[in-house]
């Protein structure tokens, strides 16, 4: 099937969807998009259902040539976009004609940009999902988790819309702002000394350059950590504190089980905000109740038509 031909793949561009659910009891990571909100907007602009396969582009530097007429929408990191050298806006549904070349420069703010096409990319589902899992070798353009390479073809159906539509500007996030990330405390939080929990919320952490899709590593004044426990299932957003006292926040490609003490979980939408932060970005945390986080997520899922 025709679609978009990859002229330049960028440093790490991955086919992703809502995640590979239903296999965590066999140790398979759920994966899926890192920034739920930016990905959901890209699909919504094209009337695609929740979780339609799209491209997660880290840092930009991508060139794609259209082999058929379609429409695209790019939401997320602020990356210069042009179509046949004409500058084009992000957060907008745009026509892309056969033969035209879409070019992305390098991200000026934010880390991940989502490129959706009308009707979505047709990928071969592995264990029910096209999400690329590089570590486990599942999904993606080749079925084995590989990022995009020059010469790849991203198959899609023809699509047409009557006019351009943009995400209203109040909903377009500013990734340069210093984020205050919301944490549902719990897990082993009660086993930490009270002053250690305070130290977690009081200090400004830095995002370590050793972070990846599996985990975001924080750097700061080390926390004192309670004793270990039996390994148990872990969820995305979990804030683990290994013996060195530097927290690790589990992200989309997280392992299914872990044994480090947990301090709590990041709000699901703030996991996406964290995914847009560059290395060394300052990070601060604040508590949120589980019911407030759930109320916001329910509204978010309803708005974007999941469920």
């Amino acid at each position: 099937m025709k679609g978009l031909r990859v002229l330049k793949p960028g440093p790490q561009s991955l086919l992703q969807d809502a995640g590979r659910y239903g296999w965590q009891h066999l140790g398979v990571s759920p994966s899926g998009v890192m920034d739920l909100q930016a990905a959901a907007w890209a699909n919504r602009l094209l009337d695609n259902p929740w979780g339609t396969p799209l491209l997660e582009i880290a840092l930009g530097d991508v060139q794609l040539e259209a082999e058929r007429d379609t429409w695209v929408a790019l939401c997320g990191a602020d990356v210069p976009l042009s179509i046949d050298k004409q500058p084009m806006p992000l957060w907008t549904r745009l026509p892309l004609r056969r033969g035209q070349v879409l070019r992305l420069g390098f991200a000026r703010s934010g880390q991940r940009l989502y490129l959706a096409v009308g009707g979505g990319f047709a990928g071969k589902a592995v264990l029910g999902s096209v999400s690329s899992q590089m570590r486990e070798g599942l999904g993606g353009v080749d079925g084995a988790g590989r990022p995009l390479q020059a010469g790849d073809r991203l198959a899609c159906r023809p699509a047409s819309f009557l006019r351009r539509v943009s995400v209203p500007w109040p909903f377009q996030p500013d990734y340069q702002a210093k984020p205050l990330l919301r944490v549902i405390t719990g897990g082993d939080a009660a086993s930490f000394e009270e002053d250690q929990l305070q130290a977690f919320f009081a200090q400004v952490w830095q995002l370590s350059p050793h972070s990846d899709r599996m985990g975001a590593r924080l750097e700061g004044e080390a926390l004192q950590v309670p004793r270990r426990q039996w390994s148990l299932g872990v969820s995305r957003g979990a804030i683990q504190v290994p013996p060195d006292g530097q927290p690790i926040i589990l992200q989309a490609d997280h392992q299914t089980m872990g044994g480090y003490p947990l301090l709590g979980w990041l709000h699901p939408l703030d996991q996406g905000r964290l995914a847009q932060c560059p290395a060394h970005h300052p990070l601060r945390f604040t508590p949120v109740s589980v019911s407030d986080a759930q109320a916001e997520m329910r509204e978010f899922y309803r708005f974007f038509g999941r469920g």
Binding site: G27, W230, S235, Q294
Partner: protein, 225 residues
């Protein structure tokens, strides 16, 4: 006493016991199956551990309070039948005991290599949990004479099919990966194979035995050198 607590905005953790025992994995597997049958439509995933069960639920359909309420009768029935557990299938896996760490393990445990192999192959193990990587099954309990801490420095590359030990557990690495366990041998059979349904032959609560084989059998069973 079962503890039920939220694990973030979209998961619920059941802590079913403080310490694992031989029957617990089979009991947790049975509970997970019952929960799947009754409440599966509300769940995205379940992750059984040695003493726990984590449920990832669909927040558009339920939340931790409603789910905990629906789980109560199931948990009470489960507690009331302590003898009930999933029988667990028995697997006999062929092993070529030629691991890189065999001599080191023998030295550290003050045993001969033959004794290490003998003690390891004599055991019957339970699948306590599957995690770390697709199809990686934690098997317990290892003979007390073979208990060693993990290697100080993990290997960057452990070959696929490697049989390894650490603490009171043994496991087979289904795929090549980094790993910090002591390598005793290799299993020629695939333990995570997408062309099969389910892709992983082992399930929590299953019993596993090991059958020592020679190099010729290893090759004949499909083992890669």
């Amino acid at each position: 006493m079962i503890r039920i607590e939220p694990a973030g905005a979209e998961s619920l953790l059941l802590v079913l016991a403080e310490e694992p025992d031989a029957e617990l994995p089979g009991r947790i597997a049975q509970l997970a199956e019952q929960i799947d049958q009754r409440l599966g439509h509300l769940l995205l995933d379940r992750v059984p551990g040695w003493t726990s069960l984590l449920l990832h639920y669909d927040l558009s359909r339920t939340d931790h309070l409603a789910l905990a309420e629906q789980l109560k009768p199931l948990l009470e029935a489960w507690l009331a039948q302590p003898g009930l557990h999933s029988p667990g299938r028995v697997h006999e896996l062929p092993i070529l005991y030629n691991g890189e760490d065999l001599f080191e393990v023998a030295r550290l445990c003050q045993l001969s290599v033959a004794e290490v192999i003998g003690l390891h192959a004599a055991g019957e193990y339970r699948v306590g949990a599957i995690g770390f990587a697709p199809g990686f099954a934690y098997l317990g309990q290892l003979h007390s004479r073979l208990v060693l801490p993990r290697r100080a420095t993990p290997r960057l590359h452990v070959p696929a099919g490697s049989l390894a030990i650490a603490e009171r557990q043994t496991a087979i690495y289904p795929h090549a990966s980094p790993g910090g366990w002591h390598l005793l041998g290799r299993c020629p059979w695939p333990l995570f194979d997408l062309s099969r349904t389910p892709p992983c032959p082992l399930n929590q609560g299953d019993r596993v035995r090991f059958r020592p084989i020679d190099e010729a059998t290893f090759s004949a069973e499909g083992g890669q050198p």
